[in-house]
Each structure stands twice: as structure tokens, then as C-alpha cells.
Symmetry: C2
Subunit: 757 residues, 2 copies
């Protein structure tokens, strides 16, 4: 049992100055307040004391869920309480506004997704050649409209375009343009991120998880971030680096939703905002994988939206937004397939045989092991980058690494194409009528293919471990799928080879006796491998299975997919309980509580409570002047402070609120004495009455409470702190950061990337 | 703001004697304790004080979630802590046991579902005729193996079988056998329920919801209930009463899971049990609708499994069990269609037109209104039944009402078949190649059909309102779908008629100009109508949409389904916020907290706190003897009592535990004094030390806490009671029943069917 460090009360998320200077800060408090009052109207009489003042949140703080949810309910009620026709119309208008934003979010995300697909496809093809009748056509569009059998002459490789005829020159030109463009794409993406939107790098899912659980980080959702992340993502994917667009698309969706919220003036509620963000995140997953149900389940399982007090409403909004986004994508239909299913699995044998469980279980275990390995390598790479000179040269790092990636990729045939093409080809069953992808279906080359696939998987794993964490938008889903698909296909080929070599062996007795009839479907093994690998990396369960079967349409084979995800998660959990997002959250030390069960081994809250003699406390009986109080606040930059008067605990005051309140007044009359006690203020009105700022700490616990109960309360009630008292006397304090520390301190590299280092 | 009645501390769920005398009671406490100790093994040293003793739960009480979850974690840890190879093997064995039970549950539920389908089909067909070569074949099996166009002579109607040739005789014979068998089926179902398993009636979902939230009601899950509910359900459905098998199947699933749990000796944890029940309930929905994802979402949305501290594990178990159950059903394939989709929608126009939104919105609003009407009629019928002489004659009521239903059904052609057949025919588009269902596709009879459909819907609504609540197993899903489908089809026919009559009107300009091409798909209108009606009755959202599209396979049209569910829910909520299950829970007054947001209008806990002078308290300073204490317990049969010593609050003691503890000791030495104070017991060991029974009430609140926070804590933390104190002095008490009362008191007919009346 570690005890939190002495300075755990200190706000570990106070951002550096660059962060606070961000141009697109939350609007000023005054404006907010005015709007809120206008909305409250004549119903404001009903506002109880604890709802009187909107708390001030600095970037990096956590919201006060109880206050926010209370205020939202109050606003709702006041809408209904207005007199006359306004009482009828206002709720309907508010309602219409909410749903307009949701529908627009869905349509917007679907459009962005489609647009990104087109952009990526074009940029990717540009590395190999161009369309003769227009630079802005990709290969498929350029060659469309041809009859069957006709050769496409409109699309020319760069060597054709520059009329280079000798073989060596062709190879050199092609490879150098390929590498040069890859470097240019990746470099410009990194430069954009570095210059305009420092938060647009990486996947974004860890931050979204933290934000949804109450973290305040508005700069992460700014319009600039939206633009740069979307453009940078297209460039990064097209550069051929080992990354995917799925995770970042969730971030882009949330930025888009936040922009809409601001356009529609939904600024007054932090909880409301988070409900919209949850819906947008579902829609992001829905568009990324063509999987509306997967999106909803992702929000439920991975983003843990159950912390909202009305989760079925949140779930419903997420569902509607996801479906609208998916329908929009299908309607725009960027590739003219009019299908949502990205990697259609076809030609799979209708039934699977019992002996196939053996290779599948091996694959599943392998997925768990390699998933854990990827997580560890990735975390180690991130920590190494942070502590070495590379940290100072992020753009150079991206340029150099994209050059390396491009050079390696050009050599290994399966890596040369985009990962999504690789995956869809690996998922395809061999069909003589349809042509052969790089000789993958050539039965005489089975051993060579297996070797090549394993090499590809290995290289991809190493590349991904470094790439995920560089200063460019990067998702980990697609590379993981690609690694798993390579391994799965390899094992599938091996099984097929075995079965064809020994068709009469008793294990294969379930196969049809005719050796020309296919019994083993290596393409489906690739699906199993991909699921297993994803299970090992993300540790998702239900949402992962749903995403995989919506991604592939392999509904009939959901049972083996389920088994592989389950086994790979077990194996992975044996090697370290945390999925990759959890590890990143812990490394960046966001105030996010893992929703898992906590076992307290019989300890009590005593273990985490910071005893009263270690706390910085405001002593009301000393009757500080405003100036003294401001000095005190400057000296101790904690989240907040317990307030006591003599022995008696008065409550807890939030630093941001106190600073905001005193800010304007201290210049006028700095020598005026302050008090937090209502009794004192009532008797003597020379005191400045601060009691309205006081959170009266109505929820107090005794130190004998089991630790698990404390953790559970923080997890489920979204608390920021709990005061411990006995007989009215303050005995200690536990803040959310103490609990976060308690739950994450055993992770490898916890706080290694935290900004406060 | 109502205040709870004076006797709200009283246990309102203490069952009548018949209940306690139930044969299949939970095994005795002693056995339980022994098993628990054996399991704990050498790890029991680690057990903290608050885990020392298993609480005793009487039927009708609520479990102590905190204790149960703590004990489960302790057991888990102790499994790992065992020495040597046992420490390796025990967790794996435990794990294997859990998953064996889950897999068996899934397979079992799939099998039961398939078996019920076959039984219902056969019994239903028996009402019209029999197979010449064997009584135990249904019509389809009897006539299978015929060539196309061949007439089935093996299946004979009763008049053919008895060689009645004249028309009047035929009609009389057919109708009287039809009615007689219907009455016989329904009557025997009621008799079974009445005689062997009084809890096997009704749908069971309200009780499952209450049990999952912590209510103790083991008799409801007994093997007898399983058998009687399954057989009775088949008889009831076959009798042609207006009821469905979906809800009861969820109950049957839970009974089956409970049986397996007992066979595998999983008796020691109430939370563990509830996790299995949640998985079984998902699987029940999965089998009932052929909708594995719908099952999981149903558990999430309707059964509110988020109250478990590890909900993603619960969700995953539910998902696996659902899929296994669905796969089993598909494998057994009772009807030889090898499809999970029950009501396949085919031939729907690929795209829908904007003008169709108008009829769909009308349908959706109608669904909301009629859904609310059905809820109200049903509740009124239940209350009327309870307060009239009918309550004394449940079997007679069923017999009489099934005769009425059969007579009416025989007259109205659409009601004569089983509801599921009606629905699947209403969902089908007209296809000239496939024959016509009772002239539904005859364009010249459109007005007649509309009239007949509306009449059918009306009759069905009235029949259902009475049927749902009689002493037979009965679900409300299918009748609701049937009502909605009738209305939808009627409006679809009307729209089609309109479009065909005015093909050139501007509203219909989206339709192809050729009038022979179908533009409006009335079958899909029936789907919309069914969704809307279900939305109005159950007030489900995501799970309902998923169930409908898994039920019909109409994935392409999910957007209109979604809109109709949404609108019908809004309209319904305007007429009363509660779905039918919530109303029944409130009427039976189960201790179940609606998970909805609660708005406190600025009140504080003061509103619900029972002040200390109204409480029955054990005063430790009076040093009662065991005999006095037993007398006290006999006199005040509350759930539990706060214990104070002088001014100081010691804690809370549960009545059942105290009774169980004192039970054996009081006979030996009734005059021995007791104390709950550790200090006293330590000094003077003539006292019987009861401090281990004390819940030390570590969580105390002040009365100034906002009411919403108290409600929220009860909802999310699964508390049974909260003590209020100020400065160490007891100021009051709030129990779960106070909060349930607060949240449900405004419902119509709250507690109207409660057993304590």
C-alpha cells in the first residue's frame, strides 16, 4: 500500500503558461452568468443556496458534478415554470435546440468521415502516380467508367508520367517519389500540429475519457484542433506511417460537437456539454468502423458514460447520433460501394469445425501476449522519447521516422499499400475468379507467404510501438488489426497446408473428403487474429466483438470471434491489467478513475486520508483580510481548502472560485476582514461574507470507513473531495487525485509524461 | 412534496405466511456459513471485522450490497492466497465453474426457447385439427415433404376427422372444439399456477428488476416456478389469450440460471447470484426475439445493471450468454428456417420518401397515446380485480375470460390465428406470387381491410388490458406488437390508397410515375406501428430499436424506426412518465428505485429524514438482557434499529441478523445482559458482546444535504439506509423504502397490489 506523496493535494494538472494562453479559451465568467440569469427568468427565486453561483473552472481542474447536475435540473425546471406561452414554448425550443445540435453533429461527423476517406485515398495514390486528366482524381475514380477487361491508361505511375523507360531508373524514381512524398506528408502534419494545435497529436481517446469523467480541458476541443487534427490525420495516414484514423476521428467528432455547441450557445452547462461529447464520440466510432451499435457500446464500455446521472438518455442520444452519422456516410458513399461494412468477409465456409478451435486459441493467446508487448514497448518508447533529446525535436523525429518507415515499407510488399488495403485483402478468401493479392493464394508459395506475413507483423509491431505517441495524429486500431490479420492469415495458411497435406488424418475428419473443396478459410483466421490482437491491446470486450462483426459482416461466426477476444483478454490481463488507453491516461496523469472494482484487503480510509495536521486550512477565527486571503491563495495553489472556525468544520472552499470572487474586490478594499461563517456575518456586517462560496461539506465520513467504499463513492458519485470528521471536528481530507493515485500508482510509468515534471 | 407515512420504517414487504411456508426456501444459514468458512480457508485471518459474519436475509428484505461485494472480493483474494498448487488451481477452477454455468445457462435457455416454440405450435394447431398419422405433429411438420402444388391431406380439420359434412355442423364443431380447447388450455395453466407455483403468473420482469436491484425473493426463482411457468406459458399462449411469451421467457431463464447456480453450489454470494441472473435475463430476451444484442442492451437499459460495481464484467457475461443462447436456438432450429430473424421483413421499397414521414409521425403519436391508454387501462383493471370478488376466483376468471376471448377471436378473422402469425403476415409486403393473407392485399377491399384492422387493434387492446395480470404466465410484448402492427398496416393501406388514387399529386411526386410500381410499403408501416406501440408501452429506447431491427432484419430502415420510437416515447411521457413495468413495480411496491434523475426543487434531506423522536432505537445504556432484547424485537418488526449509547450514536443493527444470533442463545441464558459497545464489552465480560453485529454507520450525513444527493446515493451506491448525525449525535434515519416512496408515490395506484394491504 503506497501512501500518496506529501504534495498530492497539490494540483498536478496545472498547465504550463502556453496552455493557459490558448486563444480559444472558454468565454468569460460574466457573460456566462448573465446568460444563465436570463435563462432562469422569474423562476430564479426557487434557486436554493447551493446553486446560487456558478463555480469557476480553470483548465486542468475537475468540474463539480453535483453542482452542475443540480444547475441543469434547475434550468430545466425554470423553463417549465415560465409564465404563459413562454412556459409552453421554451421547453420545446430548448428540446428542438438539443436535437438540432445532435442531428447536425451526426451529419457533420458522417461528412467529415467521408471527406477524410476521399482525401486519404487521393493522397495515398499520389505517392505512386497521377491521373492524366486531372491531378485531383484518385486511381479508382480516374479509372472508373471502363468496360470489363479494358486496361486503364488514364492512371500513370510517376515513371510513366516522366517517360522513364529503363528499369533501374523506374525503380529509383518510383521509390524516391514514394519516400519523398511520405516524408513531406508526415512532416507537414507534424509541423501543423506543432505550430497551430499542440493538442491535435496522438489518438485523443485518453483525453476524451478524462474529459467525460469531469476533467476541464477546453483547449483540447478547439476549432483549430478540429481543423489541424482532421487535415493532419489525412496527411499522416497517407504518409504510410503505421497508424490508423479511427481513434483520432473520435477526437475530431468531439471537436466538431463542441464547435456546434458554441455556435448554438450551449455554454452554460458542463454536464450538458459532456453529454453531447459522449454522443459525438459514439458517432465517431460509428463512422470510423461503419458500426453504429459498436459506437454506442464503445461509449458504454470504454468511455464509461454510466457516470452520468441519467445514462439511458446519454445512451439514446449517442445511439441516434451514431445512426445518423452512419446513414450520412452511407448516403455520401465515398467509394461508391453503398455499404457500411468496411472489410467485407466473403466466401467463408458456412460452418466451422471443432479442430479449428486449436489454431484459434493459439492465435488468441498470441494476441494477448503480443498486445501486452505492444503496450509495454509503446510506453517504454514514450518514456524514452520524453527523457531524451528527441523530445526537443518532434518534427524532425516525425520526418526521420517517416523516412525510415517509407524505406522499409517500400521493401516489404505487404507494407507498401495502405494498411486498410492490406487488411481488406488479408480478410478476403481466395477466389480463383477474382485474382490473387501478391500471390497470397498461391498454394505452392505457402511457406514463403507465411514467412513474409510473420515478418510483416513483426515490423508493423515495432513501427507502431514507436509511431503511436509522435507529434502527429495517430490511432492504434488499424495497425493493431493489421498485425493481428497478418498473424491470423499466417496461421490460417499453416492450418490449410496441414489439412491439404494430411487430408485423411483423424483431426481433419470433419472436412469434406474431396481435397479441392475448401475446408479451412484463412481469411477468417485473419479476422480472428485481428480480434485477438485488438483484445490484447485495448482490453475491450462487448464493444470490440460488435465492432468486429459490424466491420466484417461475419455475424454467423460471432462465437469464435467472441472466444478469441475473451481468451486474448485473459492472457493479456495475466501480463498486466491495463489497456493501452488506461496506460496513457496514467502516464499523463489525468484525473480519471478506472471504473474497475477495487479490492481493499481490509484497509480503511485511514490509508489515504491526509491527516489534518498535513492540510493547508483556512482558519476562520483568525479573521483574515481580503489581502491576507489573496496572499494565502498565492502561496498555496491547491485545488481548494477546508475552512474551520476554532474546532468546528465549516466546509470546503474551491480555490478558483475564491480567486474569481476576490479578484475584483481586493483592489477596492483590501483591508476588509472576511468570514466564511454565516453567524459572524449576520452579527457584524463589516465582514465580507464569503459563506456563499462555501461548499458546506454536507457529506462527511469517518476514518473507519472501508477503503473500498471511499473508492466506490468517488467512482460512482463523481466527487472531487470528501472531508473526514468525527464529532464535528475535521480529521482529514481525501481528494480525487489521492484516489487516482491509489488506483494507478502500480501501473508502469505512471505520471512519466505528466506536465508537472 | 409528500412525506412518507409514519410507518415507512416498517418493513412493507414482510410476506404473508403462505410465502414463508414455501417449500423451496433458501437453504439454512448454518449450512451457508459452514460452506463460506470452508472456502475462506487459511485466508480468513485477513477478514476485516465488517466481513466477519454473513448477514441473514429474510424473504422480502434487501441485500447489503456493500457487505456482499466486499465478501466477494475477499473470497476472490483468498482463492489466490492459498498455499502451493491450490493457489494456482483454485482461481482457475472457480473461473471454469463460473463459465461452465454461463455456457450451460445459454445452452439451456436456447433449448427451452426452442422447446416452447414447438410445444406452442403443436397445441395451437390442435385447436383446429390433427395430423392423421400421429397426434403429436403440428400442421407444418405433418404437411412437410410434399411437392410444390400438392395438397396436404394428412392434416385434417376436426370436422374432416369426425366426418361432419354439412356446413352448419362443421362450423359448430370447429368453433366449439376451438373454444373448448382454448378454455381447457388456459384453465389448466391457471390451475397449475394456482396449485404449484403462485409466483409463476404474469410477466416476471418487474420482479426480476426488483431482484437485480437487491430485493430478496428466492421463491420467485424456484425450480417449481421454472417448470410451471414454462408449461403454463405454452398452454397460455396456445389458448389464444391475448398474451405473449417474451417477458415470461426472461423469468424462465432466470429460474433456469438459479437452478444451475444451486446445482453448482454457488450459494454463498447474493451479488454473484445477481450477476448470473442479469446474464440469464439478457439471454432470455435474446431467445425471445432472436436478438442477442437487443438482450444485452435490454439488460443495460431496462434492468439497469449499472448498479453492479463491475458493470463491464456483467455486460460481457450477458453478451456471451445471449450469443450462446441465440446460437443454440439457431442450431436446434425448431421451425426449419435456420434463421434467427422471427418476422422477416421482405420486399420493402429500398428507399423511403419524405412524405411518408407524415403517416409515420401520426403512427408514432398514436402509439404513444394508445400505449399510455393501455398502461392505464391495465393498471385500472388490476386494481379493480384486486378489490372485487374476482380476486377470490382466479382460475374461474381465467376460464371465463379465455372463453370470451376465444369466442370473440373466432369471429374476427385476424384474431383467430396466433398473434405471432398475425404479426408476421402484417409485416409481409404483398407479393402476388405468394398468395394473399385473408385478402389483405386485395386493392379493391382496402377500406374493408382498414376497418377490420382497426377493429382488431381495438379488441386486442381491451383484451390485453385485462389479460395482463390474470393468474397465468403472460407477456405484453407480442400483443403490443400486434396492436401496433394492425394500426400501422391500416395507415399504410390508407396511404397506399391515397397515393394510388392521386398519383399525380405533388406530395407523391417522389413516387415513380408508373402506378403499377409499388411506392408505399404497408408492411413496413406495420413495423413502424409496432415500434411506436412498444415505445409507448415500455418506454424503452435503444434496446427497443435494436430488438425491432434484429426481429425484422430491417437494418436499412433503422432511421424511421428510431424516429417512431422517439416520438412515441415523447408523446407517452407527456401522458405519464412511467412504462408498464415501472407501474407494476410501484403497484406491488417492490423496493426498487427508478434510475431516473430526481429533481429536488431545492429541498434538503430534512424532507425525508425520519426525526430521531419518531424512531425505534436500541438504547445501549439501558443494558437490556437477551430476553428483553428478544421481546423488543418481537414488538417492533422493523428492518433494523439504530443503536445509541447515551448521546453517542454507535451504529445500526439489522433485525434479521440480531434474531438469528440471539435465536440459539436466548434459551441458554436469557438473563445475560447485552451490549453493542466494544468498550463496555472489553471491560466487563459478563456482557454478551453484540458489537460484531453492528453496522458502524460509517457513512453519516447532515440534514442540510440536498435531497437530490441523498436520492443519488441510494440509486448509485445501493444503500439500505443512511443515518443522519450532527456532532456524533443521531439526528435521524432514511431507509431505502423512504426513497422508493418518495420516487413512486405520485404514480397512479402505487401500492395498490402490495401484499401488506
Amino acid at each position: 500500500m503506497q501512501t500518496p506523496p506529501e504534495n498530492a493535494q497539490h494540483n498536478p494538472w496545472s498547465k504550463s503558461s502556453t496552455h493557459n494562453a490558448s486563444v480559444d479559451e472558454y468565454p468569460t465568467e460574466d457573460l456566462e452568468g448573465a446568460e444563465a440569469f436570463e435563462l432562469l427568468g422569474d423562476g430564479s427565486l426557487h434557486a436554493s443556496a447551493h446553486l446560487s453561483k456558478r463555480p469557476a473552472y480553470g483548465e486542468g481542474s475537475s468540474i463539480d458534478w453535483l453542482w452542475e447536475e443540480g444547475s441543469e435540473r434547475l434550468q430545466q425546471r425554470n423553463l417549465h415554470l415560465q409564465r404563459g406561452w413562454r412556459g409552453m414554448v421554451a421547453p420545446i425550443l430548448n428540446f428542438a435546440k438539443i436535437w438540432t445540435v445532435l442531428v447536425l453533429t451526426g451529419v457533420g461527423i458522417g461528412t467529415i468521415g467521408a471527406w477524410l476517406d476521399v482525401l486519404v485515398r487521393w493522397l495515398g495514390d499520389l505517392r505512386e502516380g497521377r491521373c492524366t486528366y486531372g491531378l485531383f482524381y484518385n486511381q479508382v475514380t480516374c479509372c472508373s467508367g471502363l468496360d470489363a477487361g479494358e486496361v486503364c491508361t488514364e492512371w500513370q505511375s510517376w515513371s510513366q508520367y516522366f517517360h522513364v523507360s529503363f528499369i533501374l531508373g523506374q525503380s529509383l524514381l518510383q521509390s524516391s517519389i514514394y519516400i519523398a512524398l511520405a516524408v513531406a506528408f508526415a512532416g507537414s502534419a507534424a509541423l501543423f500540429v506543432r505550430t497551430y494545435a499542440p493538442y491535435a497529436f496522438h489518438t485523443g481517446i485518453p483525453e476524451i475519457k478524462a474529459i467525460l469523467s469531469g476533467y476541464v480541458f477546453d483547449a483540447f476541443l478547439s476549432p483549430w484542433t478540429l481543423l489541424i487534427k482532421a487535415v493532419g490525420l489525412a496527411l499522416a495516414v497517407a504518409s504510410g506511417l503505421s497508424l490508423g484514423k479511427e481513434g483520432p476521428l473520435v477526437h475530431v467528432s468531439c471537436c466538431a460537437a463542441y464547435l456546434l455547441l458554441r455556435l448554438f450557445r450551449f455554454r452554460h452547462s458542463e454536464v450538458q456539454k459532456r453529454k453531447f461529447l459522449a454522443a459525438a464520440a459514439s458517432a465517431g466510432v460509428s463512422v470510423a468502423f461503419g458500426s453504429p451499435l459498436g459506437g454506442v457500446l464503445f461509449a458504454l464500455e470504454e468511455l464509461d458514460i454510466t457516470s452520468f446521472s441519467n445514462e439511458s438518455e446519454v445512451m439514446w442520444r449517442g445511439f441516434v447520433t451514431s445512426v445518423i452519422a452512419a446513414v450520412t456516410l452511407q448516403y455520401i458513399d465515398p467509394f461508391g460501394t453503398s455499404k457500411l461494412v468496411l472489410f467485407q468477409v466473403t466466401g467463408v465456409a458456412d460452418t466451422w469445425k471443432a479442430f479449428e478451435l486449436v489454431p484459434w486459441l493459439i492465435l488468441a493467446a498470441l494476441g494477448g501476449v503480443l498486445g501486452s508487448l505492444l503496450i509495454r514497448l509503446n510506453a517504454a518508447a514514450a518514456v524514452f522519447r520524453r527523457n531524451s533529446f528527441i523530445h526537443e525535436w518532434p518534427v524532425l523525429e516525425v520526418v526521420a521516422f517517416s523516412a525510415i518507415t517509407a524505406a522499409i515499407s517500400y521493401l516489404v510488399v505487404f507494407l507498401r499499400v495502405q494498411s486498410s488495403d492490406l487488411v481488406s485483402n488479408l480478410f478476403l478468401e481466395c477466389d480463383p475468379s477474382k485474382g490473387d493479392y501478391h500471390g497470397l493464394c498461391n498454394p505452392t508459395a505457402a511457406w514463403e507467404n507465411m514467412f513474409l506475413l510473420v515478418i510483416t507483423a513483426g515490423i508493423k509491431l515495432l513501427l507502431t510501438a514507436w509511431t503511436f505517441g509522435m507529434q502527429i495524429p495517430a490511432g492504434i486500431f488499424l495497425p493493431t488489426i493489421a498485425i493481428g490479420a497478418c498473424l491470423g492469415r499466417a496461421i490460417g495458411l499453416f492450418t490449410e497446408l496441414l489439412q491439404r497435406s494430411y487430408p485423411t488424418a483423424w483431426v481433419f475428419s470433419a472436412c469434406p473428403p474431396d481435397p479441392t473443396v475448401r475446408c479451412v478459410s484463412p481469411g477468417f483466421y485473419a479476422v480472428i487474429g485481428a480480434s485477438a490482437m485488438l483484445g490484447g491491446v485495448t482490453r475491450m470486450t462487448v464493444s470490440l466483438v460488435v465492432i468486429v462483426f459490424e466491420l466484417t459482416g461475419a455475424l454467423s461466426h460471432v462465437l469464435p470471434i467472441m472466444i478469441s477476444v475473451m481468451v486474448s483478454k485473459w492472457v493479456g490481463d495475466g501480463l498486466g491489467k491495463e489497456g493501452i488507453y488506461t496506460v496513457w491516461i496514467a502516464m499523463r496523469q489525468y484525473p480519471w478513475l478506472p471504473p474497475d472494482e477495487f479490492r481493499d484487503n481490509g484497509q480503511t480510509a485511514e490509508q489515504v486520508v491526509k491527516p489534518v495536521h498535513n492540510l493547508v486550512i483556512i482558519r476562520d477565527e483568525e479573521e483574515p483580510t481580503m489581502k491576507e486571503l489573496t496572499g494565502f491563495l498565492d502561496k498555496h495553489s491547491f485545488h481548494g481548502y477546508p475552512v474551520v472556525r476554532g474546532e468546528r468544520l465549516l466546509g470546503y472552499v474551491n480555490r478558483d472560485e475564491l480567486v474569481a470572487y476576490l479578484g475584483s474586490l481586493v483592489a477596492e478594499d483590501g483591508q476588509r476582514k472576511c468570514t466564511f461563517s454565516k453567524d459572524v456575518a449576520a452579527v457584524d456586517n463589516t465582514f465580507l461574507n464569503l459563506s456563499s462560496l462555501l461548499d458546506e461539506a454536507v457529506l462527511q465520513m469517518r476514518k473507519e470507513v472501508p477503503l473500498q467504499l471511499v473508492v466506490n463513492m468517488f467512482q460512482k458519485m463523481n466527487l472531487r473531495h470528501v472531508l473526514f470528521s468525527q464529532g464535528g471536528k475535521l480529521t482529514g481530507l481525501v481528494t480525487k487525485s489521492d484516489i487516482v493515485w491509489l488506483l494507478t500508482t502500480h501501473f508502469p510509468h505512471t505520471a512519466a509524461l505528466s506536465e508537472r515534471r
